[in-house]
Each structure stands twice: as structure tokens, then as C-alpha cells.
């Protein structure tokens, strides 16, 4: 029997020899990756940047594994330090298109200080933070983004802390573009990443994601489809949400949309590095 080989249109951007990937069934990261690749493909098609000029940098964590599967110049750096690595790349060679991918722990936990200062500098990089609200790769510990009250393996009596609102944090520091998306709305991930990739300065997209294996088990929804539907019900899409709507908890839900979209000069322009 002859089986014809199916080629996915995004295969050209993927190191297909490295598949299958390590993500669990029902994980949302694959949705983010394909949406991101579609956005990258559109920008390449428009001539905004070339394929060989793309650098994707991850730190450590489930999302930070994404660069291993991408057929660009890619980096699997150390925990929390993808952003400063990316800053060095961009400043040393401004023609490169530098994208950071990471989870909430990598970007907003251990890497929070670097995120803050890259946003404040309006550094010309794009950060895509996949927020599954838990430390998944290490087995389900508390994240800075975990909603109040939820069980994790290190808060067995419920999380007493308030989650960090990364959208508001990054916006307060003057980043040019801040959006929140969700794996429940893949077309919007693509749109927001596409917009982010076309702008000068610091651009940031948070993507809410589902982790049925760890987060789902913790809250009693270990079925992937059920967790996905639960998140979808909690997500409200708004065209131009105000920053005060960016706070979230598990009960009241999540507002997604483009929170900031402005055109201040980026770091390279301020530094005189745009030639």
C-alpha cells in the first residue's frame, strides 16, 4: 500500500526530524506555536523580515522548549534569562528579528526583573508568554500567576497569594504593544503576534493556556477538552479593554484583547542604532 506523505504548510518552519514533541496531550502550547508560525509566515511574506534573520529564544520550562522544534536560529537558554540573551542579540545585530517564548514562571517569575527592564527600555524584541498558571515541567508547584485559593503541590492549603498581572505590569513600564490572548481563541493569538511582529519597541503577548496534566488535575478537571471548554467560558474578548479589566482570578475569569498599542520610539531608535 502506498501512503502519500502529508506535508503541513508550516513544516518549513519546523525541525520535523525532532518530532514528536514532548508536550502532553491536551497541552495548549502547540496551539500557540502554530499561531505564532502563521503570524511569522505572514510577516515574512510581506517582506517585513527574512526567515534567516529570525532568532527565537526560550529559557527553561514547557513553553521554552518550543525553540527546539523551530527551524530558525534558536536558543534554549537558562531559566529566566531568555530576555537578556535576546537583548544582547538584538543590540549586537539590529537587523535580526528576535522573539522570546516562555512560560509565566520563566518570564514573570524568575525572569521578572529582566522583563520589567526590557519593557521599560522599550527594547525592540517580542515576548510571547504562555500562561498556564502553574509550574508544569517541575510537576505542579505554585506560579506567580496562580489564581488565589487554588491548590498547588507547594500550596496544599490553597494559594494565599494574589497572581501577578503581567499585562498591567508591562503596560505600566511603557511597552509599545501589550495584548492578552487565549488558546481557546487561536485566530486572535495569530492576530496579536502578527501585530506585535510589525512594531518597533517592546511588544508583549500573553497567551492563556491549558495544562490538563498538572493544572487541570489540581483543580479537578483532568480531561483536556473539559478544561479547554471551562477556560473558554471564562474568557471574554474585548476590542479595546481598559487596563483595569486585566486583573483575573479563576472565578471571575479573564479579559483578552489588545490593551496597549502605541508607537513610541524603541530603544534602537533612542540609542541611534537604526541605520
Amino acid at each position: 500500500m502506498v501512503v502519500s506523505k502529508q506535508v503541513h504548510p508550516l513544516d518549513k518552519y519546523v525541525r520535523v526530524d525532532r518530532l514528536p514533541h514532548l508536550w502532553c496531550p491536551g497541552c495548549g502550547i502547540g496551539i500557540v506555536m502554530s499561531a505564532m508560525l502563521r503570524a511569522i509566515g505572514r510577516r515574512i511574506g510581506e517582506g517585513v523580515f527574512k526567515e534567516e534573520d529570525i532568532v527565537v529564544v526560550g529559557g527553561i520550562g514547557c513553553t521554552a522548549r518550543m525553540p527546539l522544534y523551530l527551524n530558525f536560529d534558536t536558543v534554549h537558554a537558562i531559566h529566566g534569562r531568555a530576555v537578556p540573551f535576546a537583548v544582547g542579540v538584538k543590540l549586537a545585530n539590529p537587523k535580526l528579528k528576535v522573539i522570546v517564548v516562555g512560560g509565566d514562571g520563566d518570564i514573570a517569575g524568575i525572569g521578572g526583573n529582566h522583563l520589567m527592564h526590557a519593557a521599560r527600555r522599550n527594547m525592540d524584541i517580542t515576548v510571547i508568554m504562555v500562561n498556564n498558571m502553574v509550574y508544569a515541567m517541575t510537576g505542579g508547584q505554585l506560579a506567580p500567576t496562580t489564581p488565589t485559593g487554588l491548590y498547588t503541590t507547594t500550596t496544599p492549603r490553597g494559594n494565599p497569594e494574589k497572581p501577578i498581572n503581567v499585562v498591567k505590569l508591562v503596560a505600566s513600564l511603557g511597552a509599545n504593544y501589550v495584548a492578552r490572548a487565549s488558546v481557546t481563541h487561536p485566530a486572535l493569538i495569530e492576530t496579536y503576534v502578527y501585530r506585535a511582529l510589525g512594531k518597533e519597541g517592546f511588544t508583549f503577548v500573553e497567551v492563556l493556556s491549558t495544562c490538563p496534566e498538572v493544572f487541570g488535575r489540581h483543580i479537578g478537571i483532568k480531561d483536556a477538552a473539559q478544561l479547554f471548554m471551562e477556560l473558554r467560558e471564562k474568557v471574554k474578548v474585548k476590542a479595546k479593554p481598559s487596563l483595569n479589566e486585566s486583573y483575573y482570578d479563576w472565578e471571575s475569569g479573564f479579559v483578552i484583547g489588545e490593551y496597549v498599542d502605541k508607537d513610541d520610539p524603541g530603544y534602537l531608535r533612542m540609542f541611534g542604532l537604526l541605520r
Partner: protein
């Protein structure tokens, strides 16, 4: 070529620019900040970029990124800052990233005496990072040598694809001396070897005969995978003993086998010397004065001074000390490199002269300690 009256810190900055430095990231710390300040003024004039980042962790990681983007890159710090950098240095080692770190020692532990001198960190600089590796460390004793060894540090780092450290101290940092500053055309400047094969045949961690892989950088079209996990020649994660052993042995061997490119030393009055002094960095200046004084008194003393602390120069030391009756290891700490010397010269009487002094130990103080052994 020009003669200037400068400090070691400035000599290092000049040496880096002569070597082709294109990216510097740093964070202010005494007694190193003026390297950042001087380069912020001078490097942009030569087409380079200088940025003050949010901490030392960001600085070293940005330097690693810049190196992969094709730039010769450097950061500079002092003892507490190096403590923050060691995790990323381990990352630079496994990814074989050429870069230079300037380490100006100050008196610890902890905040200690930020403005004053010591040689406490000769082990931290070498063993501070996790993992099993070799890390070249060059140790100047003057502003001129700070310039010369900075050029050498870049060459070693680019040739062997290994982070390389210049280990100075607070005393050298701010001592003004005459330095001959050479232009790039008057120096031997080495840059990383580029791949000669097309992208589809290129493997980013497949070594040449010297055990060093040619390095494609971002934007060169080679689609490199910079991997902090244990990786095979393709840069792909491979958690097997076979790959781990092959990788670790090569990372260590590429430095050991090429150690003749790193190791260098100077000797003073060592032929027919009865007593050999082992000293390095600023302390060696006092020992040099002492050795001359002892010679005037008719005592056959000589000085062996390594210019590279790591890898440790076993062969040179053994040769120089072969006829000596006693070996004194003089350092501004409680006796650290002494352990290394004693291990190499097992059949000799090796005496640790560890002196704690916030300045350089004076020749008189050293003489007081050693006189009972002469």
C-alpha cells in the same frame, strides 16, 4: 602605537577595543565600574554598543547572546557580581560561546571591603560554575600586562570557543602606569573560525581536529540550535551517558590539549635559585622587590610568576622549581594556590605564605614571615 598613563581598568578596556570588542554589557560595581564608564564613552566611537543592564545576570546573558549574534563581547565585574554570573558562565561553557569576563577581585566575603584588594577568589573564578569543565583565567600584574593579556584573552576565547577570564584586583584596577597601547594592525588578533560547509551539512557542535567546532552565528543562514541541555553534534538534546561523556571530555580536552596557547609565565633570577617564590598578580610585585633584596643580601632567591592561573602550569613550575630547596607560595589570602603548587611539587618542601592585607602585602611583611625558613 601610543604610550599612555592609565590604570589597569583602562588598559583592559583599551585591550578589548584593540581586539575588536563590539558589545559590552555591565552593571556598576566597585572597583570595576570605570571599565563600563570608559567603554560607554569610547566604544560607540568605534562602532560598538555599550549598555548598562539591570544586574550582572542580565549582563553576562546579554554578552552570550551578543556573541552568538557575531560580536566580540565582554562584561566586567567584581567578586559579588561574578557570584551572580556563574550560572550563565556554565551556559557559555556548554554552548561553547566565546566571550571575555573581567574579574577585579575585592575583599570579601560578602560586601567585605569593596574598595580594597585581595586574592581570595582564585578558586571561585575557576570552580564557581556548576558542571565539569576547564576555564582559562589570565592574571596580569601590571597595567601593561592587563592590556596584553586582554588581547590574549580574546584570542584564546575565540580560538577555543570558551569563556575566558582576566583576573585582576582592586590594587591593580586603580594604579596608574605607563602602557604601550597598540593598534589592531600591530597585534595578532584571532577571530572564531566560521563553517566551511553549506548549511545543510553543518553541525554546530561537530569539532575540527583541534576539538573546536567552527561557529556559525545568527543571521548567517545556518539555523543553529544553541542548547543548554546536553547535546549531540547537531545541538540536539541527548540524555545518554555516551553523549554526555563525549561532550564533557571534549569540553575539557579542547582546553587541556591547547593549553600551550594559554599558559605563559615569567621568571626572575630562578637559575641556580635555592628558594623559589611562586606569586601572581599584584602580590608578585612585592615578591619581585623582595627577591631582588634577598639577592643583594647574597641569598639565592628567584621568582616564578604565572600569567595564566588556570589551566595550572604543572610542567613549567616543575621545571623551574626542579633544583630548588624550598618553594614559597605568597598570596593575599590564607593560602589557596598553595594547595595546587604543593600537589604538583610533591617531593619539595612547599611553604604557604598567606598574608591578609587590604593593600598588597609589603616586601617587609613577606620577609618577616619567610625569614625563619631561609
Amino acid at each position: 602605537m601610543r604610550a599612555e598613563y592609565v590604570t589597569s581598568n583602562i588598559a583592559i578596556a583599551e585591550g578589548a577595543m584593540a581586539s575588536g570588542l563590539k558589545f559590552f554589557a555591565g552593571y556598576p560595581i566597585t572597583p570595576t565600574s570605570d571599565i563600563l564608564e570608559y567603554l560607554a564613552e569610547e566604544l560607540p566611537k568605534r562602532g560598538g554598543v555599550v549598555i548598562q543592564l539591570e544586574d550582572e545576570i542580565a549582563s553576562i546573558n546579554a554578552v552570550i547572546g551578543a556573541s552568538w549574534a557575531g560580536a566580540k563581547a565582554m562584561t566586567a565585574t567584581s567578586s559579588p557580581g561574578y557570584s551572580l554570573m556563574v550560572e550563565a558562565l556554565s551556559f557559555a561553557i556548554i554552548t561553547e560561546t566565546p566571550l571575555v569576563v573581567v574579574y577585579v577581585m575585592r575583599a570579601g566575603p560578602s560586601t567585605g571591603v569593596p574598595t580594597r584588594s585581595c586574592q581570595y577568589d582564585v578558586f571561585q573564578v575557576r570552580y564557581g560554575s556548576h558542571g565539569n569543565y576547564e576555564l582559562p583565567v589570565l592574571v596580569p600584574w601590571s597595567a601593561q600586562e592587563a592590556f596584553d593579556l586582554t588581547v590574549k584573552a580574546f584570542n584564546v576565547s575565540e580560538m577555543l570557543r570558551v569563556p575566558t577570564v582576566i583576573l585582576s584586583d582592586a590594587m591593580l584596577a586603580h594604579t596608574w602606569e605607563k602602557v604601550i597601547i597598540r593598534n589592531p594592525g600591530e597585534l595578532k588578533i584571532i577571530s572564531r573560525r566560521k563553517p566551511e560547509v553549506p548549511p545543510q551539512e553543518y553541525m554546530p557542535f561537530k569539532p575540527g581536529e583541534d576539538l573546536v567546532p567552527p561557529m556559525a552565528c545568527f543571521g548567517d543562514g545556518y539555523k543553529v540550535m544553541v542548547e543548554s541541555l546536553t547535546h549531540d553534534e547537531r545541538g540536539y538534546y541527548s540524555p545518554t551517558t555516551e553523549v554526555q561523556e563525549r561532550m564533557i571530555r571534549r569540553l575539557v580536552e579542547k582546553v587541556r590539549r591547547n593549553s600551550h596557547l594559554i599558559i605563559d609565565y615569567e621568571t626572575y633570577f630562578t637559575s641556580s635559585a635555592e628558594y623559589i617564590f611562586f606569586a601572581y598578580g599584584s602580590t608578585a610585585r612585592s615578591v619581585y622587590a623582595l627577591v631582588k633584596e634577598l639577592r643583594r643580601e647574597g641569598i639565592r632567591a628567584g621568582l616564578y610568576r604565572p600569567k595564566a592561573l588556570w589551566p595550572f602550569d604543572e610542567g613549567g613550575l616543575k621545571k623551574i622549581a626542579s633544583e630548588a630547596k624550598r618553594v614559597f607560595v605568597v598570596e593575599n589570602n590564607v593560602g589557596l594556590m598553595y594547595k595546587e603548587v604543593a600537589q604538583v611539587l610533591r617531593d619539595k618542601e612547599v611553604i604557604s605564605v598567606g598574608i591578609i592585607d587590604l593593600d598588597v602585602p609589603s616586601p617587609d611583611r613577606i620577609k618577616e614571615v619567610i625569614s625563619e625558613w631561609l
